[in-house]
């Protein structure tokens, strides 16, 4: 009997979680424990030597967290995954497994602000140098490569510019240099785009956003495709005996999930940015409806984008799948099921009108997050980018009149109603 290839929706509900062997519990049990008993001194030694697969300490692995890891690995079509406390922690663990002091990375310039700071400020303190290039120009990525470049990094959908990156082209650039392409696919979620199908080697997510989907829980995850040839000479840390794990050669021993094992047993074990079991449970609950929520986020966002495009108080609208958008062609290729729930628009009247709009919404929530089940709104110029001058804001892709919406699952007419009445207030 051939193995069935189960559908995405089935994987959202089942991957990584068969009934509990001990109790038969159908829902995922929350293993709220720091540690796991050893059967004997030899069992303990085997576990520490990685000769027996099993749990030792929840900083390294935990059954509830593992269910989440396997589920996201399955949804991405990857080989293995490692969860982390936040999306920032996930990308940190992924990148510090690949690059060390003296190494270099090439990244898209359009990035979530926290990611930009992590690379430009924190990694610089670790001695890892980053070059930021035009996300729309694969040739710029190639031109920035150096002999010590260890990875290429970009976001499927950039935040907040909503630029769609050409994953196939970036994978070609990275593979031409014998290095992996790392994609942050947070704003797409695996429902809308599976970067491994386009040549990416590692995918990271802030699970806080669409995977969890309800604005309750911080979390992140790193997924590996299992296809990158780590023995190509550029990653001796994967093929040589590990100093961090008493001589184990990770690629030789674990093969196509050697990267995840190294990230878990060395990087995560020593840096400690672990996801809690309760958080993993909450994120799993969210994922069980990912395939139901994402189409609605996309449909409503596109409807709002079209509505705003025809609105007299609106200067411009940015949504990748809106007709005439600069990224429409790339969005149709990489995001055929929808371009997500985030859109930006410019309110007539500049920063003052933008602030007035934000103050006038009734149930749209003014806060700094995206990917919630509820509709969220923020005016970057008066909040996240307030410290910057007008010119600096423009360089960061933030204009005074820009409003960012993260469209939720409320009645579409109500979302449009609240936007319309707030726009009317903004023009007074």
């Amino acid at each position: 009997m051939a193995d069935r290839k189960f559908g995405f929706d089935t994987l959202c509900l089942h991957a990584g979680q068969i009934p509990d062997a001990a109790t038969g519990a159908r829902a995922q049990p929350i293993y709220q424990t720091t540690s796991f008993v050893f059967d004997s001194a030899d069992h303990a030694a085997s576990l520490f030597n990685l000769q027996t697969f099993g749990n030792v300490y929840s900083r390294i692995s935990n059954p509830t967290v593992a269910a989440l890891e396997e589920r996201v690995a399955a949804l991405e079509g990857g080989r293995a995954a490692l969860a982390a406390a936040t999306g920032m922690a996930a990308q940190m663990v992924a990148l510090l497994t690949l690059a060390r002091h003296g190494d270099h990375i090439v990244s898209a310039r359009t990035l979530y602000g926290g990611t930009y700071s992590q690379f430009a400020v924190t990694f610089a303190q670790f001695g890892i140098d980053a070059t930021f290039v035009d996300a729309d120009d694969p040739a710029a990525f190639r031109a920035a490569l150096k002999p010590n470049t260890k990875l290429v990094y970009a976001e499927t959908i950039g935040n907040p510019q909503l630029n769609v990156c050409d994953i196939d082209a970036l994978a070609e650039v990275a593979h031409g240099a014998g290095i992996p392409l790392v994609i942050d696919s947070t704003l797409a979620s695996p429902y809308l785009c599976r970067p491994f199908e386009h040549g990416a080697d590692i995918v990271v997510h802030s699970a806080t956003k669409y995977l969890g989907g309800h604005g309750t829980t911080m979390g992140g995850i790193v997924v590996e495709s299992g296809k990158f040839p780590w023995d190509n000479g550029n990653f001796p840390q994967m093929t040589e005996p590990s100093r961090g794990y008493h001589g184990v050669r990770f690629y030789e021993t674990f093969g196509d999930f050697g990267f995840t094992m190294k990230a878990r047993m060395e990087t995560m074990r020593t840096l400690g940015a672990t996801l809690s079991p309760l958080s993993a449970f909450l994120l799993l609950q969210g994922i069980e409806t990912l395939h139901v929520r994402m189409p609605r986020h996309c449909e409503s966002a596109l409807a709002v984008a079209r509505h705003l495009a025809a609105h007299p108080a609106v200067e411009w609208v940015n949504y990748p799948l809106l007709a005439g958008n600069r990224y429409e062609t790339l969005a149709r290729k990489y995001l055929p099921r929808g371009a997500g729930g985030i859109l930006t628009f410019g309110v007539k009247g500049g920063a003052k009108a933008g602030e007035k709009f934000i103050e006038s919404v009734q149930f749209l929530s003014h806060l700094a997050n995206v990917g919630d089940a509820k509709t969220l709104v923020i005016h970057p110029a008066s909040t996240t980018h307030r410290q910057l001058s007008d010119d600096e804001q423009r360089a960061a892709g933030v204009t005074p009149e820009m409003i960012r919406l993260s469209i939720g699952l409320e009645t579409l007419d109500d979302i449009v109603w609240d936007i319309d009445q707030a726009l009317a207030q903004s023009q007074k």
């Binding site: 089942h14 062997a21 030597n49 990685l50 692995s61 593992a66 674990f254």
Partner: protein, 158 residues
């Protein structure tokens, strides 16, 4: 009989196999062959080490080649270079083994044909420990995509 690469086929092999000759088994605890053999031994399989450099490994008598093993062997598991596989395939056939298993990183279609033509099941480029853990339980510990989708309560396995 042919190359086996799907979950149900691999499960069948791991269920029917009891005695595994591990060719190229190292006595160094940090080598992959030792990892895999120790794990399989802990899961109830009888391991027969095959390596001319040792007299015993993992508490079992070590033999210089497959032909020297006195009893029957279900599986010949190979931790040797790919170009040595055809000769090992012939040894496995001569020994009456039912499975030729080539470990992770090892692939040799000539050897696979020799074994398959003689009626053996053949596995290439896979680790028996990883596959056992993936299919029989345990590898979900490591966040690996096992491909197992089921509402059946598993038999506790350690």
């Amino acid at each position: 009989m042919a190359t086996v690469d799907d979950i149900s086929g691999l499960r069948g092999i791991l269920t029917r196999t009891h005695v595994i000759a591990v060719v190229g088994l190292s006595a160094n605890w940090y080598r992959p062959s030792y990892f895999a053999a120790k794990y399989m031994q802990e899961h109830g399989y009888r391991i027969v080490p095959v390596n001319p450099n040792y007299t015993d490994v993992l508490g079992e008598t070590c033999y210089p080649d497959v032909a020297s093993i006195p009893g029957k062997v279900d599986m010949v598991d190979c931790f040797r270079k790919s170009d040595e596989m055809p000769a090992l395939a012939r040894e496995a056939v001569a020994k009456g083994a039912k499975v030729l298993w080539m470990q992770l990183g090892i692939r040799n279609d000539e050897a696979a044909k020799i074994a398959a033509d003689a009626g053996l099941d053949v596995v290439q480029n896979r680790c028996m420990k990883i596959e056992h853990a993936r299919i029989m339980g345990g590898l979900n510990w490591a966040g690996v995509n096992t491909g197992v989708i089921s509402a059946r309560r598993p038999v506790a396995n350690r």
